[in-house]
């Protein structure tokens, strides 16, 4: 999962201080793996250098967590590109996809379009595997089947999520 895109996406709804960013990340996406402050600041300084965020203000007497960051236009474009680009289908994608869906809802983009793009990317790979299975020997078939069943499980998750988008949107925006 891309921490820098996630932090950037969180900034899109409004400027935040470093400590506030970490809290928002942990609360929404960090259930099993909260961020270290060090990760937040190294990420923010890279984003700063690349012109994707800017420092809007610094609270007096504070360290880096007191800096108030705002997303730039280039940053918004970067988030949009990341959300629109489907992920390479592979097992255990869920945390990245979940993050993308939540950020799309938070930033008022179409989560349904994102899920559709991901579905068609998954199906594209499933077609390739199906074709390889058709022309391969039994060993190929078994290996492809393993991948196909995993991709199918992903797709079922995408489907279920698509069906629950309205409820998720209400929860996320609450």
């Amino acid at each position: 999962m891309s921490i820098s895109h996630t932090l950037l996406g969180l900034l899109e709804s409004g400027p935040r201080h470093g400590y506030d960013l970490k809290r928002a990340f942990d609360q929404r996406f960090g259930h099993d793996r909260p961020l270290h402050y060090g990760q937040v600041y190294s990420t923010m300084s890279r984003l700063l250098k690349n012109g994707l965020v800017e420092v809007e203000g610094v609270e007096p007497g504070g360290g880096p967590e007191r800096k108030r960051y705002a997303i730039t236009d280039a940053g918004i474009t970067d988030v949009a590109q990341w959300l629109a680009e489907p992920e390479k289908p592979e097992p255990y994608l869920q945390s990245t996809l979940f993050t993308k869906v939540v950020l799309a809802l938070l930033t008022g983009r179409s989560a349904a379009d994102l899920l559709d793009a991901q579905r068609s990317e998954h199906l594209r790979l499933m077609r390739e595997l199906t074709e390889r299975k058709r022309t391969g020997d039994l060993a190929d078939q078994l290996i492809c089947d393993h991948a196909l069943f995993h991709l199918e499980a992903d797709l079922r998750w995408l489907e279920l999520t698509a069906a629950r988008l309205d409820a998720l949107a209400a929860e996320v925006r609450a």
Partner: protein
């Protein structure tokens, strides 16, 4: 506007059953020899779309064009001739005639088109062989397994040399192995005869046999090929 080279096109179809909008702006197109999967949640309108495309159900509005002719402009007789001659059908539960043998079931569409018994059964036997079930020719549907019955249904859908095969959850009642074999046989046969296949399925591994998918949600479908 019909996309260039498309065999069957639907634009902006609407169909209501009482207060339910089964179709609410559905678009679709398919080329000769193409396999298109129609996906989407249960109740989203997939079967209704298939029935409209096949001329079984008349939409409330929208246009369906088959081979340059508008379906709604045809009379009932012309439409049912189309269904018998140009279209083939496979449904979830075979829907074979229980009193007829498997061979007679496969020959039936030809018989209904006026082909003599001997010729019809000869062609039918060829299709049974192709689907590797010629040993079932003399059995009745009640005496074969679900997977075997679906192969008989696939043979029957192809026997008239249709230009479009409509398949609604053709593997829905089968386990993975049999389902995949049926899909392999159906798509291979369709590709070799240049028949287009409209494949309704909610299973991704079945849809993976298609060339392209469209997704129906709440009666609406976008044809991604057309919008891109």
């Amino acid at each position: 506007m019909t996309p260039a080279g498309s065999l069957l096109t639907a634009e902006n179809l609407r169909k209501a059953y009482g207060p339910t909008n089964a179709l609410d702006g559905a678009h679709f197109s398919i080329h000769p020899g193409e396999v298109v999967a129609v996906m989407g949640p249960s109740g989203s309108g997939k079967s209704t779309l298939l029935h409209c495309l096949a001329g079984i159900v008349t939409p409330d509005s929208g246009t369906i064009t088959y081979d340059g002719r508008e379906l709604s402009a045809m009379g009932d007789a012309e439409r049912s001739a189309l269904r018998r001659g140009d279209f083939g059908f496979v449904f979830q539960f075979g829907q074979l005639v229980p009193e007829l043998t498997c061979l007679e079931n496969v020959a039936l569409p030809l018989r209904l088109n006026g082909v003599a018994r001997k010729a019809a059964e000869g062609t039918a036997l060829g299709w049974l062989e192709r689907l590797e079930i010629d040993s079932l020719a003399r059995k009745r549907p009640g005496e074969v397994s679900g997977g075997q019955g679906q192969r008989v249904a696939v043979a029957r859908s192809l026997v008239t040399g249709p230009r479009v095969v409509f398949a609604d959850e053709p593997t829905g009642a089968l386990d993975s192995l049999n389902g995949e074999r049926v899909m392999e046989l159906l798509t291979e046969a369709a590709r070799s005869t240049r028949a287009a296949v409209v494949l309704v399925t909610h299973e991704a591994r079945v849809a993976a046999y298609s060339d392209r998918e469209i997704v129906v949600r709440d009666g609406r479908s976008r044809d991604l090929e057309r919008s891109s």
